[in-house]
């Protein structure tokens, strides 16, 4: 590692396109991850629009239900594994070394590999849609026995998931190795920026649970092709066992999708409030508590499978407990704003949107935690509304906030603030038009994952579809603004934002090809 760090800064990027294939530079790889995530965002988003278009009116007008199921399944897989996770890894690649005063990531060659697995994995995954019999259609949770029926896409999907898992695990190992070994002198753990902390914890979650997912899908594979009966009662297995294993992965996965976003808004809100983050220590402990709790709440995704009463009570109590550290986070963000001197540039707008709408998703999460009421909510649009509030104006707004926050740092050019604000206001208006009515139809009894519905759900579904198309088209602003910033002329200074303090703002905009060499010395907490 040291040998690499000392030799590498003598040369710049390789010329031409080969630069992007052979690069071991954390910023290049971060850029690749982010562009990949953006591309997948539009692919996964188009699938959601197919779903919403079909649901615009009662009756079937556009697609066969079998294809509809492929769209819902693929939309989720692409958005989770292809958009949110790579975007976080991209942000980590770009910013973690800079924020801790390191020259690069600790394992640069593995870094290259963990990115370049992804395009192949997703080509294979999305390619299954063109196979005879179509792609996976049993939902992203791949519950057997349904996922074992149907065409021959399953082994391809499973192999793609294995590749994504390997990529995530390598990315996580790299982030942990970087944070543990390459911090600048004086950058103690309790001085690290919150984004670094949340990613540090997230990386451990990834290493803990991605192998569990790999195990679960491998058991599906052997059940289908090698005559095992892990999930078939006829051979002594149990379909519900898959759900236990899946959600033992799946619930920590939910926090993998949100903890780095907590870190992002914890960077943005202090900057634009011109005030230190409130309760740094409790933010770190709350993140760690949420990560711990994520391992003992998994069965709240499956309250209706018919668990013993004791199990239902245990998982209800532990799940409700998550509200405490999550509440601490929200209160701390609001306290950070309190008596600050706020300005409302685009990153701050997205961060504020995050706090409000993530909290709405948190409230519906608390309602879902209550087992007896969950029996009514379970597998309805109320759940769809809940997790989309947490993931779209939650995780995604967090990512977009981070992108606007650091975009001038990356490109060395300011982005167009007016267009950024348009992006925020259009996104916020349409995202609520899209997801808020889903609470109502869910409570009124509309099950999720259905291509057609009873006519009393028609009005809210029509509204949601209008919201979906509005939200989808508003997102075109994002690549437009990014490209305008890359091509722009308005140069950004090293410290882009008046209230910004981290180490990243001590480097030029854009930063040198090899970030910190020699490393800076940190004397106090700098957020």
């Amino acid at each position: 590692m040291n040998a690499h760090a000392t030799t590498a800064h003598h040369h710049g990027p390789a010329p031409g396109l080969l630069r992007w294939v052979t690069t071991t530079n954390h910023k290049d790889i971060g850029t690749l991850y982010l562009w990949f995530s953006l591309l997948m965002f539009f692919i996964g988003g188009s699938m959601a629009l197919v779903v919403r278009a079909e649901l615009f009116q009662p009756g079937l007008q556009i697609v066969d239900p079998h294809f509809f199921n492929q769209m819902t399944t693929m939309h989720a897989l692409v958005m989770i594994f292809g958009v949110v996770m790579p975007a976080f890894v991209g942000l980590a690649n770009w910013m973690v070394p800079i924020m801790i005063g390191a020259p690069d990531m600790a394992l640069p060659r593995m870094n290259n590999w963990s990115f370049w697995i992804l395009p192949f994995a997703f080509t294979m995954l999305i390619g299954t849609l063109f196979m005879e019999g179509g792609g996976p259609s049993a939902g992203w949770t791949l519950y057997p026995p349904l996922s074992l029926q149907g065409g021959n896409s399953l082994p391809f999907v499973i192999f793609a998931i294995h590749m994504m898992g390997a990529s995530s695990i390598m990315g996580a190992i790299n982030i942990i190795a970087t944070i543990m070994n390459l911090r600048a002198p004086g950058m103690t753990y309790m001085r690290m920026p919150l984004f670094v902390w949340t990613w540090f914890i997230t990386a451990y979650l990834l290493i803990a649970v991605m192998p569990v997912l790999a195990g679960a899908v491998t058991m599906l594979l052997t059940d289908k092709f090698f005559a095992t009966s892990f999930f078939s009662a006829a051979g002594g297995g149990d379909p519900v066992m898959f759900q236990h294993i899946f959600w033992f992965f799946g619930h920590p996965e939910v926090y993998i999708l949100i903890l780095p976003a907590f870190g992002l808004v914890s960077e943005v809100i202090p900057t634009f409030s011109r005030k230190p983050l409130f309760g740094y220590d409790s933010m770190v402990y709350a993140t760690a508590s949420i990560a711990f709790l994520s391992f003992i709440v998994w069965a709240h995704h499956m309250f209706t499978v018919g668990m013993p009463l004791a199990g239902e009570l245990f998982f209800m109590f532990t799940t409700m407990l998550i509200a405490v550290p999550t509440g601490v986070k929200v209160f701390n963000w609001v306290s950070t704003m309190w008596r600050g001197a706020m300005t409302f540039e685009t990153p701050m707008l997205f961060a504020l949107g995050f706090v409000v709408m993530f909290t709405i998703g948190g409230f519906s999460g608390l309602m879902l935690a209550m087992t007896p009421i969950d029996f009514q909510y379970h597998d309805t649009y109320f759940v769809v509304a809940h997790f989309h509030y947490v993931l779209v104006p939650g995780a995604l707004f967090g990512i977009i906030s981070g992108v606007y926050y650091w975009l001038p740092k990356w490109t060395g050019r300011h982005y167009n603030e007016t267009l950024g604000k348009w992006h925020f206001w259009l996104s916020t208006f349409f995202v609520n038009l899209l997801f808020f009515p889903m609470h109502f139809v869910g409570l009124a009894g509309m099950p999720r994952r259905i291509p057609d519905y009873a006519v009393q759900f028609a009005d809210f579904n029509a509204i949601a579809t209008i919201g979906a198309f509005g939200f989808g088209f508003a997102q075109i602003l994002l690549p437009v603004i990014v490209v305008m910033s890359i091509l722009g002329r308005k140069k950004a200074p090293a410290r882009v934002w008046e209230g910004a303090h981290g180490l990243e703002w001590t480097l030029s905009s854009p930063p040198p090809y090899h970030s910190f060499s020699p490393q800076p010395v940190v004397r106090s907490r700098i957020i």
Binding site: D238, K275, M320, M337, M342, I360, H378
Partner: protein
């Protein structure tokens, strides 16, 4: 750009949600809230739902209120100077401990309700529910009654892709069945729930009863229906292509009407058993066969018999690919590890004879090959 309209909108959205929630009659058509339902459990659940919703609303108004105040007052453009405090141990303890006690207060009634919901002892009637792709089977073991409950015919026609039928003209679109479950009111009914193929979930919102049907396992749940009426729900667990088209309809009637229904069902079952003893004509078989096909087979194999390439095989020309015996064997025993079920357990001898005859003559060469119900009985 001013940020307060955003917070204001979030607030007004919550407020209007509230107003809607508390005026159910005026907004009933829009379907905004959980139904209060017609069982003791469903009313408990509804009450708990409203209480938790209100707790969330109050906390939300407080948090977003403070945030909005801060956004309005503590902005640089109105000359705010940033304070530099970065923690307050007292505040942090308060907002960890107070929510904890609110949660405990919510958990206690929830645990009580849950214990009540899981106690299916002392039931007076048992109904066995079996999920199938894509229909429900109801069995009353005490009375020897067993039947399937399929999506109603009007909905089935309207739901086809580009059917040209406006679903708004179909009464209870997607929530109507050909034969509902019938229950007596005021009786503790225990449901035994299982599945024949993949996971399903049986759900009636008005009963606040929902549980997954798991193949190979039997789950229990129960209800006592207070008021006579027709109660509708849907399958709530993704179960394949026609997951959206397997509704649940329960007819709750008085005890006397229930007894009459039992007698009528038993008489009809005896008549059907006799149908296998006589020889059927080709037109009788084709007519019955088309009805059976449209109820049980059309979802996968399609009305034109073409199937869905790669997912569900076509049946056109099957009379050349399979002998009559092979064809009958597939229908009776299914094809393992596919969506093709063993219909022998689901359909009567006459139904199976009719549907096999139909499939061999409907689209292909029409050789008028026939299968008689008595042959099916012999092959079982």
């Amino acid at each position: 750009m001013n940020a307060s309209p955003r917070a204001a909108r979030a607030f007004s959205a919550r407020l209007s949600a509230l107003l809607f929630a508390f005026a159910p009659p005026a907004f009933a058509d829009w379907g905004l809230n959980l139904p209060r339902g017609i069982t003791e459990i469903s009313r408990d659940v509804y009450l708990m739902h409203m209480v938790v919703l209100w707790i969330c609303v109050v906390i939300g108004v407080a948090v977003f209120g403070v945030m909005t105040y801060s956004i309005v007052k503590h902005r640089k453009s109105v000359g705010a100077k940033p304070a530099q405090f970065s923690h307050s141990t007292t505040a942090e303890i308060v907002w960890s401990v107070v929510p904890f006690f609110i949660l405990v207060a919510m958990a206690i009634p929830a645990a009580k309700a849950l214990i009540k919901m899981e106690d299916s002892s002392n039931s007076e009637l048992t109904v066995k529910i079996t999920g199938h792709q894509w229909k429900w089977e109801y069995e009353y073991p005490d009375y020897g009654i067993r039947f399937f409950s399929n999506l109603g015919e009007a909905s089935r026609k309207a739901r086809e892709l580009d059917s040209g039928i406006d679903p708004r003209t179909v009464p209870n679109y997607l929530l109507e069945v050909d034969k509902p479950m019938v229950l007596p009111v005021g009786t503790k009914v225990r449901f035994l729930l299982t599945s024949n193929d993949v996971l399903h979930a049986w759900w009636v919102p008005d009963f606040a009863v929902k549980k997954d049907a798991v193949p190979g396992f039997i789950r229990e749940m129960w209800t006592v229906v207070d008021e006579p009426g027709t109660y509708r729900g849907q399958c709530a667990e993704l179960c394949g292509r026609d997951h959206g088209f397997m509704p649940v309809v329960v007819e709750a009637v008085s005890a006397a009407q229930f007894d009459q229904w039992v007698v009528a069902e038993q008489t009809a079952a005896a008549a059907e058993a006799g149908a296998a003893d006589r020889a059927w004509t080709i037109s009788e078989l084709m007519e019955r066969g088309q009805a059976v096909y449209n109820t049980n087979c059309v979802a996968c194999h399609q009305a034109n018999g073409q199937g869905i390439p790669g997912a569900f095989p076509g049946l056109v020309g099957i009379e050349d690919k399979l002998t009559l015996e092979q064809h009958l064997d597939v229908v009776l025993n299914g094809v393992p590890a596919t969506a093709m079920q063993a219909f022998g357990a689901q359909l009567s001898d006459a139904d199976i004879a009719a549907v096999v005859t139909y499939e061999r003559n409907a689209w292909g060469q029409q050789k008028e090959e026939m299968l008689q119900p008595s042959e099916v009985r012999a092959a079982r």
